[in-house]
Symmetry: C2
């Protein structure tokens, strides 16, 4: 196992994917290197994947949006003959710890949601070409795309064989997308999910499992025609020039991760990671052209990428961290100005993409199974988009006034439009404030009225924006007690509690995937029938049949 | 452990509850007999409860609707001094098998949903008087009520101490009702659910955890005033006379359960329970008066009560049954006539209650974690309400025509209004047909057009009402293969898969409780941090602290 799992990569380093650009259409080709697994002990045969393969896919999807905004259609296809993708590697799954299985599924789910986000918000449509077997996670990858074409050769099929083969669920959104996106009738979905060999040809179309089939001899032509048709229907201009996404610079030390605008400090003995975000040094660019020139160095984008990397690093590499503490340093007015700049430029593709990137990063924060605490202290800059970290937190404390000897400006929160509009919506489709104020819509109006005004701790408390305003006499003790308490609770209990309390209000396909589907899958990932010595996942490939505890629970 | 857990009871046999009738107001008094536990090994101190206590509560709630429709307000209160309810008994939970924990929580959830159903649909409002500690499941019981009054005596509090005390979740709807029903702000909910001692007095009102507080000396008066006000606001007449609910007659044999209109046959070697429903013998009553005279003997009501008992019996007493097969015998026209009669009498309280009872029983079927297969054979009567069992099933097969030598009439399905209206809605708020046809609303219209027409197997298949129409050459083999296959799969995998595939479409508070909350709780109920030898649930009361695996998953 690598010492640290690294989420940074770029096309020059891909081992499993290729991007081929053809104007408005790009081919995203999956050609997994059997020997390129992230861990020892398995081979990635038949385009099966592990986290390393998905890290590259996530990178490609992000780059297509920022580096290639001209792309209207992404043709997701296999580089192997008569094999699309065999899904998550079973040996890898069977050998992985529970925590890795859960984290792996969460990230792959976020990546697939990222495909749907690109389609819905950046008009970058995904056309999936299933040229052979698409099994399990392979078909789930197809399900995340807008249009699925299946070769009709009498053998190629789509399938979700997890239940009959492995006694687990198709956990990367498969069950939810079959019923709620493809809207397959439930009894057909039941047949489909219990049939190892899957469904092929006309029946796959009739059941809405795929959108069309084509004979092998005509597949390339059919794909080309379909890609052109999708491109022609796109609403966006193809004249946009992208910006380059250079590697996120990060200095890793024993107890810290340093980025340009993010510092992460680990106090592992206290099971704490403190993530400090730094505000912008100066004013926003004068205009969109200047923003594009700054590109990936533009503060909001750089910060978002760094925060994303920091969160993923904690998730996968710091398993015992109980609590992430968010802090910030900077001028809240400067942050607000940057938000207003993005707002003014909201018709510019890059400004839109940056906001959408923030939305995804903040969703990732929401989905992180660590306690989240935001501390609003003197000298901080929790304004507008950054204020979302107050509302994403399980608790947020704010220091009243200026403690003696502290010459930093007193803590202030400034709300921006982005906090009240749906622009940074949670996965439930609502803004964090709307979700927060489910029971008191009048507080939502009060928050809207306060947009742009610097709010001190007592004002923020009376507006319901924070958990508590504390004076400097109580601050240290209260914060210490909270963090100690959090570290003392059962890690699992907290995960379950937070996964419930964070998501009041409506449910969407996305929240269904992360709650209903994932929670059941995590349960199954604990059950001896799957992972015990006689379980199906453990015994897969040994020639021995699993031995089940027959009680239905 | 009793040989069979019996869900039948009546007030004369209650050990833990009392009903005191005072006209429009009824007092439902919880006074748990410490020594009345369903199993050995624990005492039900401080009004803590086990499944036996909840079986009585469920009985009381059902009886109030049928036997006492005149009741407008149910005052749910404690018979103990300064103790409301300490929640589910911890020793019982710690000693219970995983399957029992899950089944116990499911039934208690259904009972609490039953309180909300009585309030929403029968205008029987629940006023909860918290006269002392209401901890965990005790507060969750209060949460199911319409109005919560808390004594303000400086010590009485409501609390959800499960996480800090036991490392599990408040799993009887607590987390969901706090955020989505009481709409408590999420950071306050976080404080509340991590504070062992809970919240009392004015803060409990400010945070919306309770509706009002009253000093102990004025509590009785305040309750009386509030009860009268709620009764005065009720829309229903108090002149209604109820019907008696005699015991459900059941003959239990080694391999069967015989009721008047339901037969259950167990083929345990094949892990099968076959539930056969019998249609009515004659025409529906001439009018509402005659229906009321028949009372509990009226076919739709008697059948509903019997089916409910049969399902609960399988859930709790037949843990290894993999699949429930539904069959029916009778004249589908007679079934349809009964449905139409209920429809015509829909303003009569009893007709309404019978339909609502069916809705609850069918929801219980949906929530049963066994594979459900409905076989529509010659001589069957799957019409109208009974046809819901076709749509509730994971698969439904229908035999084409009349096999040689079989002189029963060929299988016919007849749809009724109840299949297409929301009257028998699933917990997602939609009818089963609407959920089934999420992807093809045109099929919903076709079903509506077919209401009242006897549909043979091929018609039913082309309308999408069944999984497959089979001729008698294939029937036996296909059915046998399906049932064998089902028995061969992982019981847990099936539970997870069915819990996903059955609930396409919208989510409601009810589905959130059964999916998001319950699935996470079931996961936690498997985790060593709760149930392992060093886990919090296991060690509770031993004086030893739990020893946690600190990885956050």
């Amino acid at each position: 196992m690598p010492k640290h799992i690294d989420f940074q990569t770029d096309p020059s380093r891909y081992r499993h994917w290729k991007l081929v650009f053809e104007g408005e259409v790009t081919r995203l080709i999956m050609d997994v290197d059997e020997n390129g697994g992230l861990f020892e002990g398995y081979q990635l045969k038949l385009n099966s994947y592990d986290l390393g393969v998905d890290i590259e896919l996530n990178d490609a999807i992000q780059r297509l949006r920022f580096e290639h905004p001209e792309v209207k259609v992404v043709v997701l296809q296999s580089g192997k003959d008569r094999v699309f993708c065999a899904g998550a590697n079973i040996r890898m799954l069977a050998g992985a710890t529970h925590a890795h299985k859960v984290n792996f599924c969460k990230f792959t789910n976020e990546t697939r949601n990222g495909i749907e986000d690109a389609s819905a918000n950046s008009d970058q449509k995904y056309l999936c070409v299933v040229n052979g077997t698409a099994a399990g996670g392979g078909y789930e990858l197809a399900l995340a795309c807008d249009h699925i074409m299946l070769v009709d050769d009498g053998s190629a099929a789509v399938s979700l064989p997890e239940l009959p083969l492995l006694a687990v669920l198709p956990g990367t959104g498969g069950l939810t997308r079959v019923t709620d996106k493809r809207k397959v009738r439930r009894d057909r979905a039941d047949v489909f999910c219990t049939t190892e060999e899957g469904v092929k040809g006309k029946r796959a179309v009739d059941w809405r499992l795929v959108d069309e089939v084509a004979p092998r001899s005509k597949l390339d032509e059919a794909v080309s025609v379909r890609a052109k048709a999708i491109a022609a229907a796109a609403h966006k201009s193809s004249a946009q020039n992208g910006i380059a996404l250079p590697p996120v610079e990060r200095r890793r030390a024993a107890d810290s991760n340093e980025y340009r605008y993010v510092s992460v400090e680990f106090a592992r003995e206290n099971r704490l990671a403190t993530v400090t975000l730094r505000g912008p040094e100066g004013a926003p660019p004068a205009n969109a052209g200047e923003m594009a020139q700054q590109g990936a160095a533009f503060w909001p984008l750089r910060l978002a990428r760094e925060l994303d990397d920091a969160i993923l690093d904690i998730r996968l590499n710091e398993l015992e961290v109980a609590t992430i503490v968010f802090k910030s340093v900077g001028d809240p007015q400067r942050v607000l100005e940057h938000d207003m700049f993005l707002e003014q430029q909201s018709t510019h593709w890059l400004a839109r993409e940056i906001r959408l990137k923030w939305r995804r990063v903040l969703k990732r924060v929401d989905m992180t199974s660590r306690s989240l605490v935001t501390l609003v202290e003197p000298g901080s800059c929790f304004a507008a988009t950054l204020a979302e970290l107050i509302f994403a937190a399980d608790r947020s404390y704010m220091l009243i006034g200026q403690p003696q000897g502290d010459n930093r400006p007193p803590a202030m929160i400034i709300l921006g439009d982005a906090n009240c509009s749906g622009d940074l919506a949670m996965s439930n489709g609502w803004s964090r404030l709307r979700t927060r104020f489910l029971g008191e819509p009048e507080s939502m109006h009060a928050a809207q009225d306060a947009i742009g005004k610097p709010l001190d701790a007592e004002e923020a408390e009376s507006l319901g924006l924070i958990t508590a305003a504390l004076d400097d006499i109580d601050w240290d003790d209260e914060v210490r007690l909270l963090l100690e308490e959090r570290a003392s609770f059962s890690p699992d209990g907290l995960t379950g509690m937070e996964a419930n309390l964070r998501f009041a209000g409506p449910e969407t396909m996305e929240t269904k995937i992360f709650a209903r589907l994932t929670a059941w899958q995590n349960w199954i990932f604990q059950r001896p029938n799957a992972v015990g010595p006689d379980g199906a996942l453990t015994r897969y490939g040994t020639g021995q049949k699993p031995n089940f505890d027959l009680k239905r629970v």
